[in-house]
């Protein structure tokens, strides 16, 4: 639908619908995904279209239904398990880390787990510390998982299919704050490689390396920086595990500077890892120390102004990069 605006929510919904139509082994399960239409209305009306066997409401037991999803995947199905927010995923962490991520290894390569887990992440609209954290780094730490972060409408629409095609467990992070955001989808969506980061904007002066909600923020900052004569490149990591080092290295080798942005709190974050890889691979290409703008090290607060202050904002990216480039 070229030229037409579409919400991030609708992109996700279309992707799910398409997957359900394309492969009868695909089904979706999770809390309130059926009759309620999804906590964030992503799966609205899918129950009516596909029926209760494929749009399955589950009890409030993350360990239970994620475990059931693993079992279904082992049994030949292609489950999409929705965990309402990343905060609740920790209840299922045992299933994710000790079963989904390890079964292939522990079975001597006999059992793949073709499971997709979707979860909402990040700050939303004042959903406070119960629902708002950015815990991608926790999952990106675990070998055996592929971790995807949906930072654009394009990825919201087209990432699910390759994730389902992956024979091993994939966790997809979606962002609550972006659900109502309207954008145009690219005319022709290329098939998305879920092993590759993507350069969202080419530039020569500095690489802004980010993911998730950081992508549109970085693009907004890059537009403002361009007005000040700074040509920033924006790299969307997309895959938080395994990291696509080559795209990172190529970008930093070109711009000689790296600025990392993420909503997750700074300590032991994805940007910590990216920074280390840049040091390992790009040291002699660096003209400035790698710098980061990350979430504050706090439980996400409820009040709007504090919520805003707890994660990076485009104006902060602009200011920090101008300072880094001595442009102020």
């Amino acid at each position: 639908m070229p030229g037409q605006l579409i919400t991030y929510r609708e992109c996700i919904k279309q992707a799910i619908r398409e997957a359900l139509q394309a492969d009868e082994r695909v089904f979706i399960m999770g809390e309130d995904v059926g009759r309620y239409g999804g906590a964030f209305a992503v799966s609205k009306n899918l129950l009516q279209e596909f029926g209760p066997e494929r749009i399955m409401d589950t009890p409030l037991s993350e360990a239970g239904f994620v475990g059931a999803g693993i079992g279904a995947a082992l049994g030949g199905m292609r489950p999409i398990v929705e965990v309402m927010t990343v905060n609740f995923s920790l209840l299922a962490l045992d299933q994710i880390a000790n079963n989904a991520a390890t079964l292939l290894h522990m079975s001597g390569g006999q059992f793949n787990v073709p499971l997709v887990i979707r979860m909402s992440s990040g700050v939303g609209r004042q959903l406070a510390a119960q629902h708002s954290h950015s815990w991608e780094p926790l999952f990106a730490h675990l070998p055996g998982l592929r971790i995807l972060s949906v930072g654009t409408h394009e990825d919201a629409r087209y990432m699910l299919a390759p994730a389902l095609a992956d024979p091993d467990p994939v966790i997809i992070f979606e962002y609550t704050s972006m659900l109502n955001l309207e954008k145009e989808l690219p005319d022709s969506a290329e098939s998305i490689e879920i092993s590759k980061a993507k350069v969202r904007r080419a530039g020569k002066d500095i690489s802004i390396i980010t993911y998730g909600t950081g992508v549109y923020k970085a693009l907004e900052a890059a537009t403002e920086l361009a007005a000040a004569g700074i040509d920033a490149e924006v790299v969307d990591l997309r895959v938080l595990r395994p990291l696509d080092e080559e795209t990172i290295v190529a970008s930093v080798a070109k711009t000689n500077r790296a600025f990392l942005v993420e909503d997750a709190s700074r300590s032991v974050s994805v940007s910590s890892e990216v920074s280390a890889r840049i040091m390992e691979r790009c040291f002699y290409d660096l003209d400035a120390p790698v710098q980061r703008l990350c979430g504050a090290e706090v439980p996400i607060p409820y009040p709007k102004h504090l919520e805003d202050a707890s994660v990076p904002q485009p104006a902060q990216i602009v200011t920090a990069i101008k300072t880094l480039l001595q442009h102020a």
Binding site: N256, F283, Y284, D285, L286, D287, A288, Q326
Partner: protein, 414 residues
């Protein structure tokens, strides 16, 4: 007690300025240790000592302009040192500031320092053969950034920098990047340009003196390089990449062996002919910024081709970074220049006084070659000799060039 005197680092050197002491009173030194850095027209030179002992007193302050032959430091024997300081080694170090009062501005320069520069800036400077210490940084806390290095490179190319550079050369202490000089963009590239300019002047002086005083004669011969190149290809095929040999080492080695046969050309002309026992071939290194350095390969004749390759790998980058030792600058007994990488076939050189000969090699090119009544194509090298007619005659030069030619026909024996 011995006195360490300002060495002469070339025929035209009248004085040098002390940039840094590398030793303190009380330090034990061995023959060959670097004790100071001296700035000359040819850049900053590390100077060596020639005796073992203990540094007694430093007689010259940093930044002082010191005429050749002036006492710079006293060197004590172990016994003298023991008599002078009964206390353990630490004691005199504490007294040192009182012993050697230095102007406030220069004390920091005697401290070991780390140059703040981005990894990229360092890499570019190294690739371009620019001494990073000569660049003024404009980054955070004075760090040198890519932009600063690029400005320095641009400034070297810009002729407008020339006049400022000459004025600047008279005030060498300003070259030091640690000086908290105001970071005025127009001023920062001058130090590098100043070095290039002074090297140009040094080459000009030496070559003018040579052309004025030395009656040159020239001989030339063509050398069939097919055996030498075949041997190189064969031996390099069996060597790891790092140990592969360049044709230059065969040429240098052949010159060294020919000098053993014809020692009259391994000499200096200073108040008459002085034959030199050791063979230290000076090898001309073209600087990327213009100008040349001629580091000596010490005892060339005793080195194997492998050792010569190692020596070149060591000397050439240091020559380009202007980090040569005093002995490497002053000891050459003959000069070899090879323009083989360029397109020229023949080099007619100008002798570097007080030496009495210079061997020039052009590029190796395929040429028609007749031998035993047959015409064929061979890789051919033109070797020339520029020699001082005060010191030798054409027949000597002819024997020498012929010897080089013969040695290159038996590369395996080099």
């Amino acid at each position: 007690m011995l006195e360490y005197k300002m060495p002469s680092l070339g025929a035209d050197m009248a004085s040098g300025s002390l940039r840094e002491w590398r030793v303190k009173p009380g330090d034990r030194i061995k023959k060959g240790d670097i004790i100071a850095e001296i700035e000359t027209q040819k850049g900053i030179i590390e100077i060596e000592v020639f005796e073992d002992g203990v540094i007694g007193e430093l007689l010259v302050k940093v930044d002082e302009l010191v005429p050749v032959g002036t006492s710079m430091a006293t060197i004590l024997t172990e016994e003298e040192a023991a008599g002078k300081r009964p206390a353990p080694a630490e004691a005199p170090r504490e007294e040192k500031p009182a012993e050697a009062p230095a102007p406030a501005g220069s004390t920091t320069e005697t401290l070991p320092h780390h140059i703040r520069a981005s990894p990229l800036a360092r890499r570019i400077a190294e690739e371009k053969g620019i001494d990073i210490a000569t660049i003024q940084g404009t980054g955070p806390e004075g760090a040198i950034l890519r932009e600063d290095v690029e400005h320095a490179i641009a400034a070297q190319a810009a002729p407008a920098a020339g006049k400022a550079a000459v004025e600047h050369a008279a005030v060498p202490e300003e070259v030091t990047p640690e000086k908290p000089a105001p970071p005025v963009a127009e001023e920062k590239p001058i130090p590098a340009a100043a070095t290039a300019q002074s090297i140009r002047m040094a080459v000009a002086a030496a070559m003018s003196k040579s052309n004025r005083e030395v009656p040159h004669y020239y001989l030339e011969t063509k050398i069939d390089m097919s055996k030498a190149l075949a041997w190189l290809a064969d031996t390099n095929g069996q060597r790891p990449v790092k140990e592969r040999l360049l044709p230059a080492v065969l040429l240098i080695k052949a010159v060294a062996k020919a000098l053993n046969d014809v020692p009259a050309l391994n000499a200096w002309w200073e108040n008459g002919l002085q034959l030199k026992e050791s063979i230290h071939i000076g090898y001309v290194v073209a600087l990327r910024t213009g100008g040349i350095m001629v580091p000596a390969i010490h005892d060339t004749d005793t080195k194997s081709v492998e050792e010569l390759m190692l020596a070149l790998n060591d000397l050439i980058p240091r020559a380009r970074a202007l980090r040569l030792r005093s002995s490497e600058l002053a000891d050459s007994t003959i000069t070899v220049t090879s323009l083989g990488e360029g397109g020229v076939e023949t080099v007619y050189g100008v002798i570097y006084p007080p030496q009495v000969a210079l061997v020039g090699f052009g590029g190796i090119t395929e040429q028609p070659w007749s031998e035993n009544g047959m015409l064929t194509v061979r890789p051919v090298l033109t070797a020339t000799l520029a020699a001082d007619h005060r010191a030798s005659d054409g027949s000597t030069g002819s024997r020498f060039l012929t010897a080089i030619k013969n040695y290159l026909q038996q590369p395996e024996k080099l």
